[in-house]
């Protein structure tokens, strides 16, 4: 099992509620991944801006780390786990 840094922009459908942001689906490389499980969420600070990191498992049982940058409202796939 290896992890690869990706840092590529993605489109995400997410849910905002009670000040919380939760990604539901994302499109990467033309494929839509449904988020089956949200493992955890953490925030790193970059100056005044916050970066929200989400550790998720997709419906294909792959692991992804998604990143939401509050300064430009951009989502990225930060890391993926390559099984094997």
């Amino acid at each position: 099992m290896t992890f690869e840094d990706i840092f590529e922009p993605i489109e995400v459908i997410s849910h905002f509620r009670d000040g919380q942001l939760k990604p539901l689906r994302f499109k990467w490389n033309g494929r839509v991944y449904k988020i089956k499980q949200l493992n955890g969420h953490w925030v790193s600070h970059q100056g005044y801006n916050k970066q929200h990191h989400y550790s998720v498992i997709s419906d294909s049982s792959d692991y992804f780390e998604l990143q939401f940058d509050s300064s430009d409202f951009q989502w990225q796939v930060a890391r993926v786990c390559l099984d094997g």
Binding site: N39, G47, Y48, N49
Partner: protein
């Protein structure tokens, strides 16, 4: 509650970095995880999960050796920002139980519950509540030690890892320590242990039974403290703010190098990070040290005192550069460099006689403000841009060879 005794907690995360990775990624749970770098990179194991430890992996082991011992392990380079974010969650949880918390590193802390314990059913209840809350929110398991002093609590927390909770009842400190090996006491390293072994002193109880003069004669002024700790006496307070003894930053190069621009650029970058840390905490240092390790693994280190305490990056780098020039006498490639600031003290603000110092201080304040708003990489000394050819960068800084170690 017995009014004479304090109630101190020591909380330590179990295999912290590896636990964080496993906590946030269910695919890693139950697998041997090694944080430190990829196995084909040079470097050492920074943290190994308990599954990896069971296969003989330990902290400090070269990654290549770890791969040979445990080829099925998952090797991760680590993410300091992630660990810091998780540490913030720990802090939030601890501060809900008591305001007297001393954070000694990302993953361990002392809590003084002496004044707050009447709010809860018992000390063990608090310990279990903290363990549950931390595990629920981060997936990281912690071990808790409870005692009447910091040393007792720290020793207790290390006895039943992982997920251990050990409480030493007040007044039972001597009995608790008596059968433990002497090197559990803070301050007993390899040399001190050897000297005690020569005297046939193997257990803390044997050290405690000596007349106090003997440890004093053996270890000087530290001997008195050791004797007191062996007898369960530890009057140290839990301090909300502690002044670190040393702040250091170091890194290995991807490959051994003799490129002086790269080496000095790296030294300047590391010094810049130290200066930022000092100013953030309103501290200054009086001494700066530089260490280098050559490709043949020989190492050299030298320190020098500054003319006056400082937290100015320019001044610190000039000193570091002078030390490096005096230190580097061999024509051999370098694999590792490090900078350390010591004799750290609170910054004292006073009226300056000369305008130059005032200008420098204003400039530093402006730099700090810009970095607070836009991140560390918003402003960098031009010489450190040399590192862009070698390292990837994000807005937190250059991603150095061993980022988990170098912050």
């Amino acid at each position: 509650m017995n009014g004479r005794f304090k109630t101190i907690f020591h909380i330590d995360a179990d295999a912290f970095f590896a636990s964080v990775e496993q906590g946030f990624n269910p695919l890693l749970r139950g697998k041997p995880v090694i944080v430190g770098g990829k196995p084909d990179q040079r470097g050492v194991v920074h943290t190994a999960s308990y599954e990896a430890r069971a296969r003989g992996i330990c902290t400090g082991m070269p990654l290549v050796k770890a791969k040979a011992l445990c080829p099925q392990a998952v090797f991760l380079k680590g993410d300091y920002e992630h660990y810091r974010a998780v540490s913030q969650i720990f802090q939030e949880i601890y501060l809900r139980f008591t305001p007297k918390v001393e954070f000694t590193s990302l993953d361990d802390a002392y809590l003084d519950l002496t004044g707050a314990l009447h709010l809860y059913p018992s000390a063990e209840w608090v310990g279990r509540a903290i363990m549950r809350e931390v595990e629920k929110r981060t997936g990281v398991s912690i071990s808790v030690g409870i005692g009447s002093g910091k040393a007792i609590a720290r020793i207790a927390s290390s006895l039943k890892k992982p997920r251990g909770l050990v409480r030493v009842p007040p007044g039972k400190e001597r009995a608790f320590l008596a059968d433990l090996p002497v090197d559990v006491l803070p301050g007993i390293g390899r040399m001190a242990k050897e000297r005690l072994t020569d005297l046939h002193i193997f257990k803390v109880g044997e050290l405690a039974a000596l007349p106090r003069l003997i440890p004093e004669q053996l270890f000087g002024k530290n001997g008195k403290t050791l004797w007191e700790l062996a007898n369960g006496i530890d009057p140290r307070e839990v301090k909300r703010r502690t002044i670190p003894r040393q702040i250091s930053r170091e890194t290995s190069f991807e490959e051994d190098t003799a490129d002086m621009r790269l080496i000095k650029g790296t030294l300047q970058y590391l010094t810049e990070r130290i200066a930022k840390k000092l100013r953030e905490q309103e501290l200054t240092c009086r001494t700066l040290a530089v260490k280098i390790r050559y490709s043949d693994f020989r190492r050299h280190a030298r320190s020098q005192s500054l003319d006056a305490p400082s937290n100015d990056a320019g001044q610190l780098f000039r000193q570091a550069e002078a030390i490096f020039d005096a230190l580097r006498l061999r024509r051999v490639r370098i694999r590792h460099v490090g900078v350390a600031a010591s004799h750290i003290e609170p910054a004292r603000y006073q009226q300056f006689l000369f305008k130059e110092s005032l200008r420098q201080e204003s400039l530093n304040s402006a730099v700090d403000e810009i970095r607070r708003r836009f991140g560390f990489m918003a402003l960098l000394p031009a010489d450190t841009l040399e590192l862009r050819c070698k390292y990837r960068m994000d807005r937190h800084g250059y991603i150095l060879h061993n980022p988990a170690l170098t912050r």
